[in-house]
Amino acid sequence: MNNSAVARRRFPLSIVVLLAAVVILAILPFYIRGYWIRVLTTLFMSAVLAEALNLVVGYAGYAAFGNGVFFGLGAYTTAVLMTRFGWSFFPAMIASCFLAATVAFLLGWPVLRLRGHYFAIATIGINMAVMEIVTYVGITGGGKGISLPLFPGDIVKQGLFFYYGMFILLIISVAITYWIANSRLGYGLRAIKTEPEAAEVMGVNTTLYKVLAWSISAAITGIAGSLNAYWLTFLEPLFVFDIMISVEAFVMVLLGGPATIFGPVIGAFFLKLLSELIWSQFTLIHMGVLGLIIVVITLFLPSGIMGLWRQMTLRWNKANTARTSPGSQ
């Protein structure tokens, strides 16, 4: 966003393409069948989780390795409210969102003071601790899991409901990221990521900003968890508090490019489609291939697809300016 004049000039074109993408994805479910609707819905969900994680990892530079805890919290809040208290889905979803955000907000003050590894390990600890508690207590169904009421309405309606639910959530999370990236919050976070002390003496309320970023991330993740719970209809703590949920989102963020608006979405589409098409054929080595992809990304693509893109563009532009004005640096 640094070259605002150029950006503004090309803005309409990218808007058109983005709108086209949204429209295509919006009408797509009428042309594909159940399974592919489900695949795309999971894809949207992954993209949402990656985008939410991006706020914390990409912008604020905090390695929230256990961000999946909010996914599980959202899922279980919805499940408990719907089955034990007879709530309907939407109020339960809103409550899940608020609960996840509140937990992040309250935990954020002490935990976000931790830097680097300490924060990463603390989030893993929180994830595991919450999972163990959910497994132990009775109201959540514990280790026996919990069954949610089935979606009322036939299978087509159900498929469309969750497809559009996740799709809208994805659009919202991208919009939020766009808004944050261009707001004081975004600039503050990026400053915190590189020079926290300098950011602080320039008037950035660093703790508040970090806590806000984490809470927004948690809120989005919580809604995703809530939708997923209602979609899957059966939860076990191990399903929804799996540390792999965060790890996959991490890989998507890194693959797409941290601290970019569309990077995590592209990373998610790329990884999930790859998984769906190619390596789901070799299930025995599925995990190993994911591990290999991680190693390869870190070795050869440390700034992600978007980073590579930017580097290429930069080199491109440099070559151009060098040609036109040989005197410049």
Binding site: N2, N3, N182, S183, R184, Y187, G188, R190, A191, T194, E195, E197, A198, A199, E200, V201, M202, G203, V204, N205, T206, A259, Q329
Partner: protein
């Protein structure tokens, strides 16, 4: 009433007394120099004023209001800006964005969109002679430019008091001259300045009044010409051995 009042401030790390019962004042419109040998507690003093480190004892007041106990961002909002000895540019942003960081979080301005921010940024860039490098990634700047950037960022905050932490360190003579000129210019615009400096010449040339710290204590203050003759100061810098003068040693 003085702009900044430091009253009996102490701070220790473990058993080490980094700042010991220091009191001084900075008046509006002054350029005050704070000097002292390595490890004298100058940077700690600066961190105490900007709130990055908490005061153990004593208090610091700004425009009559207590700063002690406030968070750094709140202190910044009151109109105190600072630079860092080891420059801390925000990587991954352009020069303009770096300077914009100063303007964005001012308590007297809200939001990004206002042309006010743009004007402030343009002005700061021009003032510190960075306007031609405005769109460059910050990684491309050389050290002198980075020092200018630190100042530009601080100026964009619209400060009443500017704390400069060894801005001249690592620069060559020509660059120092240019930077001194700029500091005077900033002062002329009404900004009060507290300069921490190891480079003697710069401080002597800039300040009408100099504070000297040694082993965490304030050992002398006064006009530069008096200070350089003060035996305590000479001893602090050079140990027991007598020396002809400070200018030469400090180059």
């Amino acid at each position: 009433m003085a702009l900044l009042e430091v009253k009996n401030v102490s701070r220790s790390f473990g058993g080490v007394q980094a700042v010991n019962n220091v009191s001084f004042e900075v008046n509006e419109g002054e350029i005050v120099g704070l000097i002292g040998p390595n490890g004298a507690g100058k940077t700690t003093m600066m961190n105490l004023i900007s709130g990055l480190i908490k005061v153990n004892e004593g208090e610091i007041r700004f425009q009559g209001a207590r700063l002690t106990g406030l968070k750094p961002h709140a202190i910044a909002h009151k109109g105190i800006a600072r630079t860092f000895q080891i420059v801390k540019p925000f990587q991954g942003m352009t020069v303009r964005e770096n300077v914009m960081m100063g303007a964005l979080f001012r308590s007297d301005l809200r939001g990004l969109k206002g042309s006010a921010v743009k004007n402030i940024v343009d002005e700061a860039l021009e003032l510190l002679e960075l306007d031609r490098r405005a769109e460059a990634p910050v990684e491309e700047l050389n050290l002198a430019q980075r020092k200018h950037l630190e100042l530009a960022r601080a100026m964009a905050m619209g400060p009443k008091l500017l704390l400069l932490d060894e801005v001249m360190a690592g620069l060559n003579l020509k660059e120092i001259e240019r930077l001194m000129e700029l500091v005077r210019k900033l002062n002329a615009r009404g900004v009060t300045i507290l300069v921490i400096e190891h480079v003697m010449k710069a401080v002597m040339g800039l300040s009408k009044r100099v504070l000297v710290m040694h082993h965490g204590s304030l050992i002398a203050q006064g006009p530069p010409e008096v200070i350089t003759q003060d035996p305590k100061v000479i001893e602090a810098y050079l140990g027991k051995r007598r020396h002809k003068g400070l200018h030469k040693e400090a180059r």
